[in-house]
Subunit: 224 residues, 2 copies
Amino acid sequence: MNPARRIRDEIAAAIRSGEWRPGDRVPTEQDLAARYGCARATVSKALAELAAAGLVERRRKAGTFVAHPPVHSAVMTVPDLAELIAARGEAYRWEARAIERVPAKKASALHIEGVHFAAGEPLAIETRIIELAEVPAAADADFAAVAPGTWLLAHIPWTSARHVIRAVAAARAEAAALAVAGGTACLELKRDTWRGARPVTHVRQLFRGDRFDLVAEFQAGSRP
Amino acid sequence: MNPARRIRDEIAAAIRSGEWRPGDRVPTEQDLAARYGCARATVSKALAELAAAGLVERRRKAGTFVAHPPVHSAVMTVPDLAELIAARGEAYRWEARAIERVPAKKASALHIEGVHFAAGEPLAIETRIIELAEVPAAADADFAAVAPGTWLLAHIPWTSARHVIRAVAAARAEAAALAVAGGTACLELKRDTWRGARPVTHVRQLFRGDRFDLVAEFQAGSRP
DNA sequence: GAGTGGTCTAGACCACAAA
DNA sequence: TTGTGGTCTAGACCACTCC
């Protein structure tokens, strides 16, 4: 077994089991190097990974300490709907309702509305704006045939995003598009996407509350 | 500036700006070491960080490549309600409605119900089960005075968790507790928490949809 | 001031998968 | 087979911060 990996995993196990409590001092790099019979750089690497995972906190001169548990945070995956529904084993379909160019701040933008279907039933309605200045290729894409999210995932590399998730009651027109009664509880997901400082796309998806939920897992230090 | 940090940031900037596209080959460690005039280990560290951040993918013999953008995922923070509401500048209050011990699989468990208030108005109702076998100290905590989440955050280190988020209509009793009309759209958050393989607590929180939303940020490689 | 982490070097060997 | 990443070493110097 890797010395670095072994050191990292043994310390992580001691922390996760509760044997080492938050605030406890972790031995110094020199101590650990002597104990494991390896170079200090190897210990340093292991501890750096634990620090990146949030399990320990390191301070010069003071030493390394078991970190206090963070406020609950979780990695939530907001997948492409076409993939998600296919993974469920249901048929997926995108139906565009409106596609138009509208003037935007600098260049023009594409405004798209449509409905995502799973197993023949409406799952979500989508309202999206795509900045053509940032994604000129989108002007030639056929969003009547391909859902914008699917197309963008394949064409827009390395963006940052901000999601806001709420529960809202479906308005009349929305409820009609989703084939539910007015006022039905729906999950609203808004996502703003940027490349660098420039906005790429904004999307609002409104999901039938009874057919969609988000799942988020959290595991400290699961990354390495 | 740190050589490793500089190499990492320059490559990250090239990827994020779109100058280097997904699938593009990144120069080998030896090339980069020569170009930056540093040791290969330094380049290796920088590239390892980029790989951990998901910006590049590394394959032996093949080389390092700009990764394809991941399915949208985001780090969602599910904070302690007391902290969150205090951060908003509103008064926070927890009101327990029922606390009882019930038999569980191995030992007994604590069953707690109550309401979270923000600015004097109900924000969420909470139903929670705490496994006393895993958290014996909870038997002596005063959950009439302290919200269980707040207490647990301070007493239970290093757990893993799974969240499920849905939009649901408030049932009659729930609506009454939240001071809304029956059928109002609410955000339901269920969280199962474990330490190792052993369940610690299960909680269901039902938020007034008009007063609460979740925010999630995503930024590739924001971590280092 | 002294102890601790943070970083770098130059070199070495190994593991692995692509050519 | 060979080129590439993956890891480790022994040593060095620096930066910070607690005492």
